[in-house]
């Protein structure tokens, strides 16, 4: 039973890490109705910006964080100006294709920056001051292993979700954003500044990418593989709903717990290594029952 609990808690905490990445997708989807293929690349470039500023230029945490955030805001604004603005009122598939191009561009730029800053492409260690080590008290009292780092990630995710929920539900920008997602032209016609909204949302997505990048980077180093964490977020989004911030968190918790339990308890019967695809199978099954996800908006189209 203790082991089951340990796997469950470990899975839930891993799920929080997936949710952090999924949140970035949700933001862009809410603003433009598009799956942002470049979110993984944004996580990588954000973490790399931080580690470059902190390591190469020796800046303290808050200065490096603030400047890395400025870099992400700049990328967000440039994305709106160069990539999205020419595509207003174009089919959503065009926007999606543009984000694929953006992903390749950001990945290339990130590697160029890394070569310039560090002269090689080796993973850069990133420390946030909290060791990824088990909490001794829990180990001694209950023989359950929980990492203090995972708890930090969960706390950060909680704060982020609360802040984003307030931002989108209680502010004018949040309401404008929903209108933009529904119909670009209609939103423009009632005076909603589409370009400003997109700029803001991409900047907020950059902020979320920075937080996710720092936490993932602290675990396994800042490196190209960070771009692949986006693959972990996709089943989370299918499950939680592409438009829901709460869904990203709940979806992450379900996917995290389910894939770890599956790996540990089902894996040995089928040769192991199933967690990579189990999350997708779960998401696909879920799609059959609830296509819009747990918290997604149900669309009813007039025929």
């Amino acid at each position: 039973m203790t082991f089951f609990l340990e796997v469950l808690i470990g899975g839930l905490l891993s799920g929080v890490m997936y949710s952090l990445v999924a949140l970035g997708f949700v933001l862009i989807y809410k603003a433009s109705g598009v799956f942002n293929f470049a979110q993984g690349a944004m996580v990588f470039i954000a973490a790399l910006a931080y580690v470059t500023l902190a390591e190469r230029f020796g800046l303290p945490f808050w200065a490096a964080f603030a400047l890395a955030l400025a870099v992400m805001v700049l990328i967000g604004i440039l994305t709106e100006r160069i990539v999205l603005r020419p595509l207003v009122n174009q089919p959503q598939i065009s926007l999606f294709m543009a984000t694929i191009g953006l992903a390749f561009f950001l990945e290339g730029i990130a590697q160029m920056v890394q070569l310039w800053a560090f002269n090689d492409l080796s993973p850069r260690p990133l420390t946030l001051g909290i060791q990824d080590q088990p909490i001794e008290w829990l180990m001694n009292e209950f023989d359950i292993l929980v990492s203090s780092f995972d708890l930090l990630a969960a706390a950060v995710a909680g704060v982020l979700v609360a802040a984003l929920a307030v931002f989108f539900n209680r502010t004018r920008i949040g309401r404008a954003l929903r209108a933009v997602a529904d119909d670009h032209q209609a939103a423009l016609s009632v005076g909603i500044p589409l370009k400003t909204i997109w700029g803001i949302v991409w900047s907020v997505a950059g902020f979320v990418a920075l937080v996710a990048g720092l936490l993932w980077g602290a675990r396994s180093g800042v490196q190209f593989a960070l771009t692949l964490v986006a693959l972990k977020a996709l089943p989370v989004l299918i499950l939680g709903g592409f438009e829901s911030i709460a869904g990203a968190i709940v979806g992450g918790l379900i996917i995290g717990a389910a894939e770890k339990l599956a790996e540990v308890y089902l894996g040995p019967f089928v040769g192991g290594g199933i967690e990579g695809w189990f999350a997708y199978v779960l998401a696909l099954l879920f799609l059959l029952v609830r296509p819009e996800g747990l918290f997604g908006e149900r669309h009813i189209d007039r025929v």
Binding site: S122, D132, S220, F224
Partner: protein, 440 residues
């Protein structure tokens, strides 16, 4: 808008200019096709290896004027460690020169498997230095494959022997628990048969746990390890997987000096990314790291100092860069061996194959080449396309790799028996009549 577009075009041009350089093929040169990778999740590892490989080719041209006067030329094609792209690169490179691409180094067990039939049909040798299909050591069945120096079964048995030594002898391994934590790919599955045989022979309990690509999340795997409570963990990792194994081991409270990696899980790239979590970790190695070798000094003097290469200073002398030098040296020596028999001109794939099969790089020759002490001697024959099977263990002290053993080998008799059995089965399946190829 116009300015923005100009900026984008400028950036794209800059990116194109920074792309990996090629040393274009020219008539009368020995062309070498390089299926390399410098981007993607395994790019850092590939960049170090292929930088070393190309730096050695530069050295041969700059210092020696080529191989017996035949200059080397090359072209690098990006595979991203992806099997499909690896095959595409191979197909492209084999048409680049009248003599073919000399010898292919895929640096990927998956790409090696994908090219087994193709290289045989095209009569192009494939060198898998420390990776690839292990039973291809039997050159009578696999005349075009050369898993040089040591293979994965040598590595696995050497690691078991290393663990046995630490436990006080092979007899003490009985009822011990060992986990193989492996990259869930052709590479990671390669040691399974020999480890199962070793577990049966030495009566230790073996649990094999896969890690899905790329391996940057290992919570479930390490919870299983924690439940199994092993005495040792063998890490068969690549890229981000190794660093994540080390940091997750720390998170789970598993001692790093009870973890042993193979040579692809034992470079500075792996340990530095794991930070303090890596201290104490062991790895088997094919070659030593360091700059205190004459060949490294020569590369510095004739290549790096002259600005012929863009290899970052930090990479020089690292585990994988030195391995790239050694891989290129073996290729060049194969060309030299073939030339000694067939004339001082560019060699075809079939001629280079003969050169590899007749390689004899003893300690004296290694010293002449400046590799003395970095890699073990190498003698290849038709029946043995591998080599010495020697490995050397090293331990990460928190800052650098330090030798933790002499050159040692594992259970060579067991490996040879299994190689012959497996190769014979393959020959029967494919209808191959085993035998040695004649000189071209």
């Amino acid at each position: 808008m116009k300015n923005t577009r100009l900026t984008i075009i400028g950036l794209l041009l800059a990116a194109a200019l920074l792309a990996p350089a090629t040393h274009a093929q020219q008539a009368g040169t020995q062309f070498i096709g390089i299926t390399g990778y410098r981007v993607g999740p395994y790019g850092a590892n590939g960049a170090a290896f292929f930088s070393g490989f190309i730096d050695y080719l530069h050295l041969v041209n700059e210092r020696d004027g080529g191989v017996n006067g035949v200059k080397l030329s090359w072209e690098e094609c990006e595979t991203e460690y992806n099997n499909t792209k690896g095959v595409e690169c191979y197909e492209r490179l084999k048409t680049r020169s009248a003599t073919g691409p000399t010898a292919i180094h895929p640096m990927s067990t998956g790409i090696t498997y994908a090219l087994i039939d193709k290289t045989a049909a095209d009569r192009i040798p494939l060198i898998s230095f420390g990776y690839g299909r292990t039973d291809s050591v039997d050159g009578r069945v696999f005349p075009w494959l050369f898993p040089l120096v040591s293979n994965y079964w040598d590595a696995a048995t050497a690691i078991v022997k290393f663990i046995a030594d630490r436990e006080g002898g092979e007899a003490r391994l009985a009822r011990k628990k060992i986990v193989l934590l492996y990259h869930d790919s052709a590479y990671g599955k390669e040691p399974h048969p020999v480890l199962e045989a070793e577990a049966k022979k030495l009566r230790f309990e073996l649990k094999m746990i896969p890690v899905p690509h790329p391996g940057n999340e290992q919570q479930a795997q390490w919870l299983q390890i924690r439940q199994f409570r092993p005495d040792w963990v063998i890490v068969w990792g690549w890229g981000v997987m190794t660093a994540t194994s080390l940091s997750t081991a720390q998170k789970m409270g598993f001692p790093r000096d009870r973890m042993v990696g193979n040579w692809w899980a034992g470079s500075e790239i792996d340990t530095e990314a794991a930070g303090g979590a890596a201290a104490g970790y062991y790895a088997a190695s094919l070659n030593l790291a360091g700059r205190d070798f004459p060949v490294v000094r020569d590369v510095q003097k004739h290549v790096l100092d002259k600005g012929k290469s863009q290899t970052p200073a930090k990479t020089v002398g690292s585990v994988l860069w030195n391995r790239g030098l050694a891989a290129a040296m073996m290729t060049v020596e194969a060309v030299r061996t073939a030339q000694a028999k067939l004339g001082k001109k560019p060699m075809t794939g079939a001629q280079v194959r003969w050169g590899i099969e007749n390689l004899d790089i003893d300690a004296k020759r290694l010293n002449q080449l400046g590799f003395g002490g970095m890699v073990p001697p190498l003698e290849v024959s038709c029946t043995d396309h591998g080599g010495s099977g020697l490995v050397r263990f090293q331990q990460w002290d928190g800052r650098q790799w330090k030798a933790a053993s002499e050159w040692v080998s594992g259970d060579r008799a067991l490996v040879r028996r299994m190689v012959e059995d497996s190769a014979a089965k393959y020959a029967a399946e494919k209808g191959i009549r085993p035998g040695c190829l004649a000189a071209p």
